[in-house]
C-alpha cells in the first residue's frame, strides 16, 4: 500500500530537493557568473553575486586567444569514439557474464574493477613510452583507445547490472525461435536494455569528456581536447579567474546541454531495475 503523503510534507520534500540541487549546482553557477565579471570583480571581497556590470569581454579574449572549435571537436571525437568503442566491446562481454556466467565471472568482474583503483600516474611512463613507440602521441586515436580502456570496467559493470534484470527466459525463447547469437543480442537483448545502455553511454561520455590526466599528458597540439583548453587558462602567478571561468563555461556548456536534454533517459537508466 502506498504511503499517504500530506501536501505539507510534499512541499517540504520538494523544497529540500531543490535546496540540495542548488547546493550541488552552485559551483557551476558561480563559474558561469564569474565568467561575466571583470578580473577585479571576480576577486572582490565580499563576493558580488549578481550586482555587477555584466561583460562578454572574457569570452571575446578567450575566443581570440584559443581555437575553441579545434578543442571542442577533439573532445567530441575522443569522448564519442571511446564511448562507442567501449559499448561495442562491453555489450557482448556483459551478455556473457550475465547470461552464461562461469564460476570465475564474479572474480573477473572484481578484477576489472580493481584496475580502476590504480593511480593513473603509476602507469604514465609505460603508457607514454608505448605511445612513443607506436607513434600515438598527440593523436586522437591513441586517446580514444586509452580512455576506452580506462572506462571499460565501468561500462561492463553497468551493462552487466542492467542485463541481470532481464529474464533469461526471454532470450531462451528467442533462441528456440531460431535467433542466432548476433540476432539475440542485437534484436532481443539490446532493445530491452535501451534505458540501461543509454545511461551507460551518457555517463561514460561525461567521464570521457572530463578526463583530464591522460588528455593533458598524451596530447600537445593536434589532439588536445577541452581539458587542455581549460588548463591553458589556469595560472598560479596572476589573477585570471574571470577568463578561466569563461574558458570553463565554454568547456562544460556542451556537456551541460547534453545532460539537460537527456536527463530523463539518464534518471530512467540509473533507476532501471531499482523498483520491482
Amino acid at each position: 500500500m502506498a504511503r499517504a503523503v500530506t501536501a505539507n510534507r510534499k512541499m517540504i520534500n520538494t523544497a529540500i530537493a531543490w535546496a540540495v540541487g542548488l547546493l550541488i549546482f552552485f559551483p557551476i553557477l558561480w563559474t558561469i557568473l564569474t565568467s561575466f565579471k571583470t578580473e577585479a570583480q571576480a576577486i572582490a571581497s565580499p563576493p558580488i553575486f549578481l550586482g555587477f556590470d555584466w561583460t562578454l569581454e572574457n569570452y571575446s579574449i578567450v575566443q581570440e586567444r584559443s581555437d575553441y572549435m579545434r578543442f571542442l571537436w577533439n573532445s567530441v571525437i575522443i569522448a564519442g569514439g571511446s564511448t562507442l568503442l567501449g559499448i561495442i566491446i562491453a555489450v557482448p562481454a556483459a551478455w556473457s557474464m550475465a547470461f552464461v556466467p562461469s564460476k570465475r565471472t564474479k572474480d573477473i568482474l572484481l578484477w576489472m574493477l580493481s584496475t580502476k583503483m590504480l593511480p593513473a600516474v603509476g602507469v604514465l611512463y609505460p603508457i607514454y613510452l608505448l605511445f612513443i613507440n607506436l607513434g600515438l602521441l598527440d593523436s586522437r586515436f591513441g586517446l580514444v583507445m586509452v580512455i576506452m580502456l580506462i572506462n571499460l570496467p565501468i561500462i561492463v559493470w553497468m551493462l552487466y547490472t542492467y542485463f541481470r534484470e532481464i529474464p533469461g527466459e526471454i532470450l531462451e525463447a528467442a533462441r528456440m525461435d531460431g535467433a542466432t547469437l548476433k540476432e539475440e543480442i542485437l534484436y532481443v537483448l539490446t532493445p530491452m536494455a535501451v534505458p540501461g545502455i543509454a545511461s551507460t553511454v551518457l555517463l561514460n561520455f561525461i567521464l570521457a569528456w572530463n578526463e583530464a590526466f591522460w588528455t593533458l599528458n598524451l596530447t600537445a597540439v593536434d589532439a588536445a581536447p577541452l581539458t587542455a583548453f581549460i588548463a591553458s587558462y589556469s595560472s598560479p602567478e596572476g589573477l585570471f579567474f574571470a577568463k578561466l571561468s569563461a574558458a570553463s563555461t565554454m568547456a562544460i556548456a556542451p556537456i551541460l546541454i547534453l545532460g539537460w536534454f537527456s536527463q530523463k533517459q539518464l534518471v530512467r537508466g540509473l533507476t532501471f531495475g531499482a523498483v520491482k
Partner: protein
Amino acid sequence: MYLKNALRAATALTVAATASAHAQSLTIATVNNGDMIRMQGYTDQFTEQTGIEVEWVTLEENVLRQRVTTDITTKGGQFDIMTIGMYETPIWGANGWLVPLTGLSDDYDVDDILPAMRNGLSHDGTLYAAPFYGESSMVMYRTDLMEAAGLEMPDAPTWEFIREAAAAMTDRDNDINGICLRGKAGWGEGGAFITVTGNSFGARWFDEDWKAQFDQPQWKEALSFFVDMMAESGPAGYATNGFNENLSLFQQGKCGMWIDATVAASFVTNPSDSTVADKVGFALAPNKDGVDRRANWLWAWALAIPAGTQQEAEAKQFIEWATSKAYIELVAANEGWANVPPGARTSLYETAEYQAVPFAQKTLDSINAADPTNPTVDPVPYVGIQFVAIPEFAGIATQVSQEFSAVYAGQQSVDEALAKAQAITTEEMEAAGY
C-alpha cells in the same frame, strides 16, 4: 584540353601539398602568465620575418612541469622549445637533455643577459636556457598605511622592523592585515618563501656533507618568527594562501605589506586591477639584524631546446627573437615600458624610459642581491636560493612545506614540524645515495 587542365591542377596541388609539408612549425610548451601570453600575441611577427609557424601548448605551471619532464626523460619529442625555470635548467643541462645555447648571433648580445640570470641558467659555464623574464622578491607596502602608522620604510629593512610595522598597520576591525605572506604547501609556493626566510636567519637546507639541517637553532628561530608574526598580523587562513591569494588581498587593500615576486609590482600598480595602485612603495626583502643574507629569491622563466628536436636551428632562431633587445622594444612601443618582460637584460635597466618605472630599480637591486651559489651565511654544497638544484629537492621540499603548513594551520608545533622535516629529508637523501 581537359586532360591538360587536369594535369595542371594536379601539379599545382602537388606543389602546394609539398610546400605545406615543408612549412616549418615549432611547438612550444609554455606557462600561462601575462608576459608569455603577450609574447604569443606577437608571434605572427616572427612568422612574417622567418616563415616559421609557431604552435603554442599553454599549461598551468605544475601541469607543464610534469608534462615536459615526462617528455624530455622519455625523449618523446613533442616539443621543440620548452619553458622551464632555474631549478630544472642546470639539472637537465647536466644530464644532456638540453641543447647548449652556443653560437648565438652577435646581434643577440648574450653578454647583456643579467649575470645572475646567466649563471642560474648555466651548467659548467654553458648557457642552456635563455631568460624570457626574471624575478627576485621584495617588499611591497602601502605608503598610506605606513605613514598613518608613523613609520618610514627603509630601503633595506630588517625582519624586526617588518614585524613592528606589520603590527602597527594591522587593523582587524577594517579587515586590514599588517602583512600577507605565502603559507600554501608546495615547494614553489610556501616552500620557496620559508626557505628564503630561513636563509635570512642564517639557516640552510644542508651542510657541506649533505646532512639535513632542520635540527639547527636557525631554522627554529626562523620558523617561530614567521609563525608568531603571522599570528599577530597576518590574514586568517594564511596556511592556504599562495601568490594569487595574496595578490588578491593586496589589490583589495587588505594587506599593509606583501613580500613576494618582483613581477607582482606591475600588477599591484595597475589601476585597472588594483584599488591601491597609487599607494604602493617598494623595498628590498628583509633580513634578520646582523645576518648578511636577505629573504629574496631568484627565478627566471626561460626558453630551452630539448635535445633530439629535429628543428634545432629554427628553435634557436625563435629563442633569439623572443629574448632579444628588439622584442623588449617591440613590447615597449606597443604596450608601454611597464609591460616589458623584466629581469633578463642589463640594457633594459639602462634605458631612461624604464628607469622611470617605479619598481624598476628595486627589482634590479633585488635581483643583484641574490647569489644562488652562496644563498645563506654558512657554506652549502648546492646551488639555488629558494630551491636546491638537485632532482630530489622538489619531492622533499613539497613534503617539508606540508609539515610547515600544518604549523601555520595550528595542527602541530614548530618543534614537531622541524623534527618531521629533519626525518623526511634525512631519509630521502640517504635513499638517494647522498
